[in-house]
């Protein structure tokens, strides 16, 4: 099996690579590339993302044909895809970080700044927070409710269809932190930095 981590200059992805390699050991081949052919023929795709919504969307668009290839993979071929942090946020129709930017539109919704209640809550939301699992999700298999995950973000994904939400976390308000829509998965937290529980989520995705 081939799992491809999309390398599109979205910032620091070494931790994502290290964690997937740790979980995959020799059973699964982990490829890190922006090669369209390799993405197309892989079994699963991981879409990481750090920095701003706009910078990540811009970086995706900079690689000719990448958005089309990813859409074909996730929407037409319905193969498993996992978005992490801004990788998840980009599923939305639109994001408001820096400036209004069009997202991939795979999971209808928007990405807005977390309401910090006039400075009552610090931003970014950095650190370990518990996840409240609201729906069974294949990537959350054997993950206990209220497990701790590592977060670092200032913007949140607000999907239109609440049925896609599989977990939320409490910070200022209830923030969506895990989604599942058919073959498309996303986490706002960083499984690659969330110790053993995070590695279990990666394992769940690889084992799908």
């Amino acid at each position: 099996m081939n799992v491809t981590i999309v390398d599109y200059n979205s910032g620091n992805i070494s931790s994502v690579i290290n964690s997937f390699k740790e979980v995959a050991k020799d059973k699964v081949n982990i490829e890190v590339t922006s090669d369209l052919k390799k993405i197309k023929f892989s079994d699963k795709v991981v879409l990481p993302g750090q920095g701003s919504f706009k910078s990540c969307v811009d970086a995706l668009n900079k690689i000719n044909g990448l958005v089309d290839t990813l859409s074909e993979f996730a929407i037409n071929d319905k193969k498993p895809l996992l978005g992490i942090c801004v990788g998840l946020q980009m599923f939305a129709d639109i994001g408001y970080e820096e400036t209004e930017t069009k997202g991939l539109g795979w999971v209808s919704g928007k990405v807005s700044k977390i309401d910090n209640q006039n400075g009552k809550f610090k931003l970014p939301h950095i650190g370990w927070n518990q996840i409240n699992i609201v729906k069974d999700s294949k990537i959350l298999k054997d993950i206990e409710n209220n497990s701790h995950m590592y977060f670092v973000h200032s913007y949140e994904f607000i999907p239109n269809d609440k049925n896609v939400i599989s977990a939320k976390t409490d910070y200022s308000s209830n923030i969506v932190c895990s989604v599942e829509k058919e073959n498309i998965f996303g986490t706002q937290f960083h499984p690659e930095k969330s110790d053993k529980t995070g590695l279990k989520i990666i394992d769940n995705f690889i084992s799908l």
């Binding site: 620091n12 931790s15 950095i126 650190g127 670092v152 973000h153």
Partner: protein, 251 residues
């Protein structure tokens, strides 16, 4: 609920730990990778390396340490010390650091913070503020505490937030190494002034100091070095103690 973080810090010189954990079963007490792994297995919320290598020819040793650690520890890893430029930051992130902490360069050339937070995202840019009390204000020191910049620490903190820093690591030079506790006044003054998380550092001697840093200093995270060294306190003990004092921690 977001938990307060406990961050053990390891001083690394020429690729070796200075003042390490003195565990009997440790094969190599000077190996930063092995020590980081002990901390992460012990429940560290993050791990911090402070590179204190003085000579330029040995500066590359930290990259190797970071690369090896990031393959074994799956909690956030922050690396500070000697970071001068966007190129240095890029190199550390590529080796597997999740955040970098910038001190002297941020004071001398704030453009580094602006540029790097744009390029890599604020989430990985920590600005380290070394401050010393002078009269009724705190002044910023650079070069590992050797040079007084004369700049006001609280104004500088605000400026760094505006420049794109994601967090501030605030160290009291008066307290560092004294084990008498954080400079609570400094921590709370900065924390109330900025809207980004503050990590308190410098002066921890016992577990009550960690409690004070969070409760009185308004810090989001507490960093400590020596109390976790030589097995004086384990991370587990620290967390259980904070929990008993009503501070939310990840246990």
């Amino acid at each position: 609920m977001l938990k307060n973080r406990i961050i053990p810090c390891l001083d690394v010189k020429n690729g070796r730990v200075v003042k390490g954990i003195n565990f009997v079963d440790l094969k190599d007490a000077g190996d930063p990778v092995e020590q980081a792994k002990i901390y992460s297995d012990g429940g560290a919320d993050e791990i911090c390396f402070l590179d204190i290598t003085a000579s330029n020819e040995n500066r590359d040793t930290i990259y190797d340490v970071v690369e090896k650690t990031s393959k074994k520890c799956f909690v956030p890893l922050t690396v500070g010390g000697g970071i001068r430029s966007v190129v240095d930051i890029n190199k550390l992130l590529n080796c597997g650091a999740d955040k970098v902490s910038i001190n002297t360069a941020a004071v001398q050339n704030p453009e580094v913070v602006i540029e790097s937070s744009k390029k890599f995202g604020s989430q990985c840019i920590v600005v380290a503020i070394d401050a010393k009390k002078n009269g009724d204000k705190w002044e910023i020191f650079t070069h590992g505490g050797r040079n007084n910049s004369g700049m006001d620490a609280i104004e500088f903190a605000k400026q760094m937030e505006d420049s794109g820093a994601g967090e501030l690591l605030v160290t009291s030079m008066d307290r560092d190494g004294t084990q008498v506790g954080y400079d609570i006044e400094l921590m709370s003054n900065i924390s109330l002034k900025v809207n980004i998380p503050v990590i308190a550092s410098g002066g921890v001697g016992n577990l009550d100091h960690l409690v004070d840093g969070i409760k009185l200093g308004n810090a989001s995270a507490v960093l400590a070095a020596s109390i976790f060294h030589y097995g004086k306190h384990s991370l587990k003990e620290a967390k259980e103690y904070l929990d008993s004092k009503g501070i939310p921690v990840r246990i």
